[in-house]
Symmetry: C2
Subunit: 417 residues, 2 copies
């Protein structure tokens, strides 16, 4: 089974917004065992969208999935493009138009819009390739599943809040359901290891018997502070399991997970299992660690809150960092990181306090403390400790890596508890 | 001038990481006036990468840019793929190998790796298409510019911290510099308007004279709480300027900017211009507003810090929200939002306090306060006020929109001051 994803929209192609649907669909297809040939980003150009869909079908893809271009305006042309690609007319669905009209009427300020424009918008959004199966709109835009030979074109809207549930609907209807069922779903094992670089992994793999990797397609991805090793097998999982077991044995202490869980999930699970809570004290990351910890539903079970101590006066006023620590060791120091972690643990009455203080750049570096110098602190009932990091990269990357290292430090404290 | 971007990597195609280089390059090319035909995501498969590069060249693109696949491992095959696509041999550059070796030697734990693997890795990374111009590595991987007819293939590494500066190097060398110079750079005007939907904009545009939009390609992008209208002209800017002027006149109070600045920049500029500071108090967004405000270099000039008041006890302890406010009005209420904003303004000694409290979901909703109910509070020396929002979408989207609405509320307070 093979698939092509076509993400439409000038705003994505011009780089004004990042795409999330392409990534979501890639994950879905990967888990379903469907081989994704390409994710293609194209502008709001009917002919280009049409050609991308047609060339995916022509190349033998069983699934061609488009996102975007289903809105009410003149540059929302995906339905027309798909109709042309599969060689059917674009047909206005009058019953669907009523659904669109009803849904649009709940839209903010719709009442200010003239009946002519309302009618035009509704008919535009209710016109689908002839013979298409309608995917009920989550927002105002209906989607479609268009069967073509043994293949299917799935037409989804651009807003991720609409695209995600409508993909799940599409996956349950024919012929998409049968295509996904035939794909079968190969075995995938993901092992995540902290403090490891690709070259070291290669070195280890070279020591294995020659056939250890046979039948397994390995992918390696370095991310902030961790290496993600994906072991993929087209059918079954025995060979991938065997490699995963070897990696777990080799890197035991540094293994974040061998079951696909990412660092965030591992930390959340460990906090829950221990009935523990966490509070954060952030300087250079400005709330990023708190935002990441609270991104998960149900995080209020174990996140108490925290303090964004960007200015030194806030470190002293809200976290009780002694001014003499800042004066002598400096705000970017192990002493300050420990005092921040202890302070936020106490202020928020949490089991663990986790702190980050550092120099994210581009300014603020000194020869002694260059840009990328970060201290991560952890405090629990037994005391506090800090780690010294020197992170490379621009401001955004230093901040992201600092957050990842803080989560790793918290995980180590949880494992040791 | 036309371009194709080929983003390589199983980790991107399988959706395990989001891509940033594709977006960055799209922005660069757009600003340079280069027409970007497509951004294509492909896996770590030599033949697929080769075909993507060759088909871009075959279709007449003057620039084909690849990212990723320049690491030391067996699945880093982009240089080989490019060599095959342009029909030249892959040649090991011994002088370059010394550079790679020297840079790799600074890498963490490199000392643990055997000389055989070191040699193999270095020679792999130092092998380039014959005749290519070397782009000096920022990390360990060199890039390349390969001239082919009147076109150029630019080969960049995957980590954004390396890709971005190496693209800037590539843009300065021939034939890339000449290709970009010939593109000329069309005129682009971006007008951002808050509290506007596409259908309303359409309605307004329909009232304009028929030729008002001639020569202008308009793109509309709805983002959390705002509409971004891009007016693009291939040569000159007069027509785009005229449309921008009309939009500013029509939506005056709701115009965020007419000069391309986004909401973050407008808020930062306004804080700086007034010598004002801000502190944040966040419940359901858990630090996201603080993280967004501090994402900009130099934000320590105007961001004091804040409190992540996820648990109600933290709202009381660190922000001084009276327990009776939480008991009677609830933690998700205008009273609580105002008390949080006032509390954080006082605790952090800031000119403005901005707060967010709400129900991001998926759990926690009630008939009176469904998921998506959010209150944004602002406090200054004159007092505090709050706005009631009902945001649609999943947890991530509600959190993002709440942050955007908080920035809009702060901007209104700044404009009124």
């Amino acid at each position: 089974m093979r698939a092509v994803v076509v993400v439409t929209g000038d705003e994505v192609l011009e780089g004004r917004i990042g795409d999330r649907n392409g990534r979501f669909l890639a994950q879905e297809l990967f888990a379903a065992g469907v081989e994704l040939d390409a994710v293609q980003f194209v502008g709001d150009d009917m002919a280009v969208i049409r050609d991308a869909v047609a060339s995916g079908l022509g190349a033998g893809a069983e699934l061609v999935i488009t996102t975007g271009g289903l809105g009410p305006t003149h540059d929302d042309l995906t339905m027309w493009a798909v109709a042309e690609a599969v060689g059917v007319p674009l047909v206005a669905d009058l019953a669907l138009a009523e659904v669109v009209r009803e849904r649009s009427s709940r839209h903010a300020r719709w009442a200010d819009i003239s009946p002519e424009v309302q009618h035009h918008s509704v008919m535009h959004q209710a016109s689908l390739p002839g013979g298409a199966l309608v995917l009920d709109p989550v927002g105002t835009a209906p989607g479609a599943v268009v069967a073509h030979g043994g293949s299917a074109v799935v037409v989804l809207p651009g807003p991720p809040s609409e695209c995600v549930p409508m993909w799940r609907s599409a996956a349950g209807v024919e012929p998409v359901a049968s295509i996904l069922a035939r794909a079968g779903g190969g075995g995938v094992r993901v092992v995540r290891v902290a403090n490891l670089i690709e070259a070291q992994l290669m070195e280890y793999l070279a020591t294995l018997p020659p056939d250890a990797l046979s039948g397994v397609r390995m992918g390696v991805c370095a991310r902030a502070g961790e290496l993600e090793v994906t072991l993929r097998q087209r059918q079954g999982t025995a060979a991938a399991d065997a490699v995963a077991d070897r990696l777990v044995a080799r890197y035991s202490d540094d293994v974040i997970s061998a079951d696909g869980r990412d660092l965030d999930t591992v930390v959340a699970d460990a906090l829950r299992a221990r009935g523990a809570t966490v509070a954060v004290a952030e300087s250079c990351t400005g709330g990023l660690l708190g935002a990441r910890l609270t991104a998960r539903p149900g995080s209020s079970e174990y996140v108490r809150g925290g303090v964004i101590a960007y200015d030194n006066a806030v470190k002293t006023a809200l976290l009780g960092v002694p001014p003499e620590v800042i004066d002598t060791a400096g705000a970017v120091s192990p002493e300050c990181a420990m005092a921040m972690a202890e302070g936020v643990r106490r202020a928020c009455e949490a089991t663990y306090g986790v702190s980050i203080t550092g120099i994210a750049g581009p300014g603020g570096g000194t020869p002694q403390k260059p840009v990328g110098t970060v201290f991560v602190g952890v405090a629990d009932a037994s005391g506090a400790w800090a780690e010294h990091l020197l992170l490379r990269g621009g401001r955004d990357i230093v901040r992201e890596r600092a957050v990842a290292q803080a989560l790793l430090a918290l995980r180590r404290a949880l494992v040791a508890s």
